[in-house]
């Protein structure tokens, strides 16, 4: 039995309601290397929850574990881009230096080695999270150095040797991460006018603010592109004793890292956008959901909030406006891609596993704790602040009819200048490749694995909701890359991140893995191509949320743009191949028998 006083202390700090579960569980995990069944029992008792509910929570998030982990956890990012940039060598070096394999802990209980999906450092891959410390630009030499250093001081923060640029050097950040702000646009990354957006909003009525956002024709920047003004209006008119604004800072789409740079360089702009939303929607409470991978930014963001309170930009009677109260609280994620989906994010904030909710009802009607809630992306909120500062017309002049303003792109992969590019909507892929040194690419994945594969014939296509809609991830693949390897990597990602709630996503993502394996091993026939297609289409049509509905996209868009990747090497129609290797399959039984005869 472990003393329950520690749990009591955490409850006193974080609260005794289920929404406090994430902070309590994260703190226990950090201090004790796991959230043990005994701790789960204590937490359940204090928060008045079922033990099974706490266990479901702990079991859902990959940063929380029931089984003890080492004092330090090394999470190697095994995203497709990292695999392109030498992940295998780095993993081998870590395994050799630590004397354990991925998934294991050193015998002294000091260090656990594991892998994790995209941590938002694709432009500086291969990368890892060591504790909360992001470590970019890994090599096998660096891996060995890191292990020897950790063996000496056991302190991940002391691994920070050379700090990155910009606010990565801020005393509360002190990170090796680089912004790689290759092309800051004049809009989102334009000059700062502290307090100006809120001042402008307060000179209007809340409905005028919503009308301004509508006039600007702003659409959500997370990828789906829902009109922000409409979302706000639904939330404004919905009835509720409380209302919430949630900033979705859980970018998890592989290849996306633009929100990390916005949060590092322009956090005030994001909070200003939230505050404007609070005024427009009549919400007094804001939640800022920060992905677990960006925990290193938390002290810095807390400080930003504190300074805004001191300056009268948050808190009571903001900027002297009587009765306009609004404040923001940071909530953490703990390793779940699905939590970037707005209803899963809300479940996570409420102290539940982050699986998606059924819609209707939409969050605008029934969101956080059942109250009307508007969930907006980091970049969207930035746009809000800038639209208030410069006017809707200035914003709407940029871009296209259905895609106004600029888009911040995260470019990575086989290009010479990976990083952040702010471009007006309507910019062609070709232009993006030129800017980033990705000319001659063989393929580009726009919008991450849930987006679209584009072949060179499609490089004239435009970044826009009218054409290539994207949350901002642009992954460049050189002409010699084997796309089947990338496809398998993304299939692994979706299978790993599926919550498992609905049949098509839980089983279908595994089936896609199984089929692609057959293709790689040269065992596939036309029947497998047909099966793979049926699974991908079933996912798209019948899944419960966006994860499942897009998990078949890598396969489907590959067949549109790169059909040879899957079709080359298939035997003629009507010819069947053995789906498995008989020799390999009976090897285990043969070993048990201890003989060669079958």
């Amino acid at each position: 039995m472990t003393a329950a006083t520690e749990v009591d202390r955490l409850v006193a700090t974080h609260g005794s309601e289920p929404p406090a579960l994430m902070d309590i569980a994260r703190d226990i995990q950090a201090a004790e290397g796991c959230v043990s069944p005994e701790r789960q029992r204590q937490i359940a008792e204090r928060l008045d929850m079922r033990i099974a509910e706490v266990r479901a929570f702990v079991g859902f998030y990959s940063f929380l574990t029931e089984e003890p982990q080492g004092s330090i956890v090394i999470r190697l990012c095994d995203d497709v881009v990292d695999r392109m940039k030498g992940f295998d060598r780095v993993r081998d070096a870590f395994e050799e230096a630590l004397g354990v394999s991925v998934g294991e802990t050193t015998p002294d209980g000091a260090i656990t080695l594991t892998t994790t999906p995209c941590i938002g450092l694709s432009d500086q891959a291969p990368a890892a999270l060591i504790g909360d410390v992001p470590v970019p630009f890994l090599s096998s030499d660096r891996a060995r150095d890191i292990v020897s250093s950790l063996r000496v001081h056991a302190d991940p923060t002391r691994l920070v040797t050379r700090m990155g640029d910009g606010k990565n050097r801020h005393p509360l950040v002190r990170s090796m991460v680089r912004n790689n702000l290759e092309r800051p646009g004049t809009f989102i990354f334009g000059p700062e006018y502290r307090g100006e957006a809120i001042r402008k909003a307060l000179s209007m009525t809340p409905f005028e603010v919503i009308r301004t956002i509508k006039t600007a024709r702003l659409r959500g920047r997370g990828g789906a592109g829902f009109p922000t003004g409409m979302k706000w209006e639904f939330t404004r008119v919905a009835r509720g004793a409380r209302k919430f604004i949630v900033c979705n800072a859980d970018e998890g789409e592989p290849g996306t890292f633009k929100d990390r740079v916005i949060l590092t360089e322009l956090p005030d702009r994001v909070i200003a956008g939230m505050t404007v939303a609070g005024y427009a929607l009549g919400a007094r409470e804001g939640l800022f959901y920060l992905r677990g991978e960006y925990a290193y930014l938390r002290p810095y963001l807390e400080d930003v909030l504190e300074r805004r309170r001191a300056d009268g930009l948050l808190g009571r009677d903001i900027l002297g406006k009587r009765g306009f109260d609004f404040d923001v609280e940071i909530r953490m994620g703990a390793g779940s891609y699905l939590c970037g989906e707005e209803t899963a994010l809300l479940n996570s904030c409420e102290g539940r596993p982050g699986d998606a909710r059924d819609r209707p009802p939409f969050p605008a009607e029934s969101g956080y704790l059942g109250f009307p809630t508007s969930v907006n992306n980091v970049e969207t909120l930035c746009c809000v602040a800038k639209i208030l500062e410069h006017g809707a017309a200035t914003f709407a002049e940029l871009g296209l009819q259905q895609s106004t303003g600029t888009k911040v792109l995260s470019v990575s992969g086989d290009c010479t200048r990976p990083g952040i590019y702010e471009v007006p909507f309507g910019t062609t892929l070709e232009a993006v490749l030129e800017m980033s040194g990705g000319e001659g690419a063989g393929a580009v994945l726009v919008g991450g694995p849930s987006g679209t594969w584009v072949n060179p014939e499609g490089f004239g296509r435009r970044i826009a909701f009218e054409d290539l809609a994207t949350g901002g991830a642009i992954v460049v693949f050189g002409p010699d890359r084997d796309l089947l390897v990338a496809l398998e990597g993304y299939a692994d990602f979706f299978a790993e991140e599926s919550c498992g709630y609905c049949t098509p996503c839980r089983v279908g993502t595994q089936l896609i893995q199984r089929y692609l394996q057959r293709f790689r091993e040269g065992r596939a026939d036309q029947g497998d191509l047909d099966g793979l297609l049926r699974v991908a289409r079933t996912l798209k049509t019948t899944s419960r949320c966006g994860l499942g509905q897009t998990a078949g996209n890598p396969v489907l868009t590959t067949l549109q743009s790169f059909s040879q990747v899957l079709e080359a090497g298939l035997p003629a129609v009507g010819t069947r191949r053995a789906a498995f290797d008989l020799e390999a399959s009976v090897a285990g039984a043969r070993a048990l028998r201890g003989g060669d005869h079958v």
Binding site: A44, S498, G500, C502, T503, V507, R514, T541, T542
Partner: protein, 257 residues
């Protein structure tokens, strides 16, 4: 605003209360929409997706979708039944279902659904997951191999037995039924009289020492396909109970194993 709405379901006019789901309205009208996780009287769950219909051309799960006035809903179409076959197949290959040795055979809704939809043998590879059997309880067995994660036991235990014996844990391929508190059924409040046991559509939750008591020929789906009784309700449109794809009952369990 009237509290009644009217929509068209495969060409038949269906009346519903505003906020009533398409599924509930269809059940009331005696029209069968194939389903596994939904049971009238329990909160909708929307996990099996077998009840996928098209509302104004857009696919959605009938059990959670509120009826909309004037909507056109497709249900018994070749296209939708093809999606359903895929989903039922996925449930088979995603678990370990051996119909020929299962006590639930003939009374199993998954097996019956496969017959109704004409799933003869899976066309997708078996995933053959490694799953546990919890036989710790003196009277009840929980076999994760046969579980389709429909949450019928979870909801029945919570809402009808007033106990909350069951929940879920882990995600993706690892997702499975959990018991409260702890990990073993014997440590829970589960009792052999719980209605949650009857709620299981497959052979995942079974009462011990009661298998194979009903001879072949007397089991729930030996003579009629699943859904047949819904279709026989008053005013049911023709064809709602058709089961032309069914095999003779005696072969139950041979194919979809």
């Amino acid at each position: 605003m009237s509290d009644r709405v009217t929509f068209m379901l495969d060409g038949h006019r269906i009346e519903a209360y505003r906020s009533q789901t398409i599924m509930d309205a269809a059940i009331e009208a005696g029209v069968y929409i194939p389903r596994l996780c939904h049971v009238p009287g329990l909160d909708p769950w929307g996990s099996c997706r077998v009840c996928t219909v098209k509302v104004n051309g857009r696919p959605c799960a009938a059990c959670i979708q509120p009826a909309m006035d004037g909507a056109t809903v497709e249900n018994d179409t070749d296209e939708l039944n093809a999606w359903r076959r895929e989903l039922v197949e996925m449930l088979f290959v995603g678990g370990n279902h051996f119909c020929m040795s299962c006590e639930k055979s003939g009374n199993c809704e998954l097996q019956a659904m496969a017959y109704r939809l004409g799933v003869t043998a899976p066309t997708h590879p078996y995933l053959a997951p490694e799953r546990d059997v919890d036989a710790s309880h003196p009277d009840i067995m929980l076999d994760h191999n046969r579980c389709i994660l429909c949450a019928r036991c979870v909801r029945t235990s919570r809402d009808l037995d007033g106990k909350q014996v069951f929940g879920f844990v882990y995600r993706g391929a690892e997702r499975r039924i959990a018991v409260d508190p702890g990990v073993r059924l014997k440590d829970s409040e589960a009792d052999v009289t719980d209605r949650a046991l009857d709620a299981c559509p497959v052979g995942a939750l079974l009462r011990k020492r009661q298998g194979f008591q009903v001879p072949v020929g007397g089991r729930a789906y030996d003579h009629e396909p699943i859904g047949a009784t819904d279709g026989e309700a008053e005013g049911a449109p023709d064809g709602a109970s058709d089961g032309e794809s069914l095999e003779p009952a005696a072969s139950a369990g041979r194919e979809a194993s």
